[in-house]
Symmetry: C2
Subunit: 413 residues, 2 copies
Amino acid sequence: MKKNIIVGQSGGPTAVINASLYGVIAEGKRHGDEIGCVYGMLNGIEGFMQDRYMNLSQELTDEELEILKLTPAAYLGSCRYKLPEDLSSGFYPMIFQKLKQMNIGYFFYIGGNDSMDTVSKLSRYGASTGSDIRFIGIPKTVDNDLVGTDHTPGYASAARYVAASVREIVLDASVYQQKAVTIVEIMGRHAGWLTAAAALARKEAGDNPLLIYLPEYDFDLEQFAQDVKAALDRQPSVVVCVSEGISDRDGKFICEYDNAAQTDSFGHKMLTGSGKVLEAFIRNRYGVKVRSVELNVSQRCSGMLASAADVSEAARAGEAGVKAALRGETGKMIAFLRKDSPVYELEYVPQDVNAICNKEKKFPAEWITDHGRDVSGEFLAYALPLIQGEVERKMENGLPVYLYQRDGRPVRG
Amino acid sequence: MKKNIIVGQSGGPTAVINASLYGVIAEGKRHGDEIGCVYGMLNGIEGFMQDRYMNLSQELTDEELEILKLTPAAYLGSCRYKLPEDLSSGFYPMIFQKLKQMNIGYFFYIGGNDSMDTVSKLSRYGASTGSDIRFIGIPKTVDNDLVGTDHTPGYASAARYVAASVREIVLDASVYQQKAVTIVEIMGRHAGWLTAAAALARKEAGDNPLLIYLPEYDFDLEQFAQDVKAALDRQPSVVVCVSEGISDRDGKFICEYDNAAQTDSFGHKMLTGSGKVLEAFIRNRYGVKVRSVELNVSQRCSGMLASAADVSEAARAGEAGVKAALRGETGKMIAFLRKDSPVYELEYVPQDVNAICNKEKKFPAEWITDHGRDVSGEFLAYALPLIQGEVERKMENGLPVYLYQRDGRPVRG
């Protein structure tokens, strides 16, 4: 008997999480002999518990599927929901009852660390009850911090956004003769992968951004002041890139250096980033013009700057997930294995999801150079193939056409 | 006898100020019978006073010229330098002496309000001394606040960046079920043109961004709280766009509502934007999740999202400037006149620069709707033709190739 697919998205949005969704739907459709239809849970497992889902094979036309592939954020909606640690919790029978009612044979969850934890728990519970439902994780995170995979879908497009934006900010910052410091704050609470991508912005060696600081290296404010001074002595415009999550040797985040008493005129606490803190610090120390720029959410949701390589890899990860499930795999995440070949090439390999979830892949210490102020050529060689290619997208009125969903129905605009 | 051209850039960078520079150089080259060479002053009139310039006709190859056309920021460097009000100042004979030495017959200055003031003063001084040098201004500003022209080069690309980014931020902000407010702060200290462009992001009527506030309408914090509350009652994800320069009925900027005592742990004053102030205000008032996003300098310097229409119009403004000068015009700015035709079409018309400089074109009051919370369909009809088209650019290693200048020599990267 044919079984159905259900697929969900979870955690923070990326430029290509919908490309993975596209991959699952497209591959599911190609196996009409084994697969009935493809359901999508709305707002992940949290929405599914509220019986919120849609029939993706029925609702989406082929043209809409192609638009979906290039739409950023999360078409099905997302959630941040941690499943109970205790597998004897009543939660599990309830979920499996729902899956059974919908005749689900294949469960796909597209997400990061926490989402892989969901796949791990569901597959372990399933195994303990003899369920034949197959649970597969499709990786996704702009942070690139999942272990067991060369990189994660979503990282490359975010890295390309960072590199292109920093290159343009450097040009913008260099138009005046006056001394000026520009501090760019880049996403990454614990891992420096995205901030490191700022090095790709350099047009030549020794070019801005002159200084790059990652969370993996203890940040020292006095050393930073000296670094900026030395850079200003060399040239008038200094661009610095910092992770949001840089912290000192005591583990205190630099963004926490703002005064706890910092309030607006109503006494409201204001939240500050590491860039803002360093902006005020350098302005006061040296009296030079300082500006800070927080790249913010556009880093993760810019579809316009998505890397074609990333879109294609994300879609293939979804397809590989369906193929693996049909082969009988369960409790796996589709990992990227970079082949040892002269030309960049990936293999899509199912790996034990239990060995992946709840772990964090840090930026390698040996790729941090110049006493924590730069990254190595090895990183550039690692990252360059990932950011290649521009996608060709449907435009209307000068803007990209995206596909979004309202109450389980596709809307184009 | 052939005369030379000198051209400079001044004020803040835009995505297309180099397209205007391209237009001046390309048109200058086409008139080899009348024009010797095209010089570029480095860092505007300020650098020129220090004898810093380059020979653009000699240094740039045709291929480099094409890259220059699509490079954001200001290739020649910029300055913020106000010429003496007193035309009998010793400054003027000094400048004219330099122009004479270089056999300059045509002076072009690409910039905004202050730059047109420079053109005005130089042309008036020239007229008073019987000089035959022709002074022409080429408009440029993302703020779109120059009078006497339908719009200004640079505005359209920034507007497209705002519209595309807000559309993506709306998608990003809509993935969770929980109530959340996202506040996007957009450039514009006194004019709301750029913030209004956020309305172009809507995929359909009634779509996010639900609320749009411009500096031209008195901002009331209590009304704002009620507006947000009503929007949250309607749907979980509310996206609000505000100009950096919104102010209350007393003329006080909302960004000044942050506490004067707001300092970091070293006692340094921290600078805050209107978005951050409203973020803290709404979070405290309603206890919902609030995020603020400052689009920051990428608005004005993103070459990747430049509008093809803007690039082409900026280049044609430069060309029209050269043609006007050759016809004998001086003391003029090249204005855009939108033809009264069913299809969008522009005329490039020299207008008296004295009637343009030191004035500010506000966003029309009649285009502000819904008691200061939205903009009208008339604005959308005005803005839509401007943001059309994507440029085809040279890419290398997944990133755009730009042309920049070091010590008066072109460098590609």
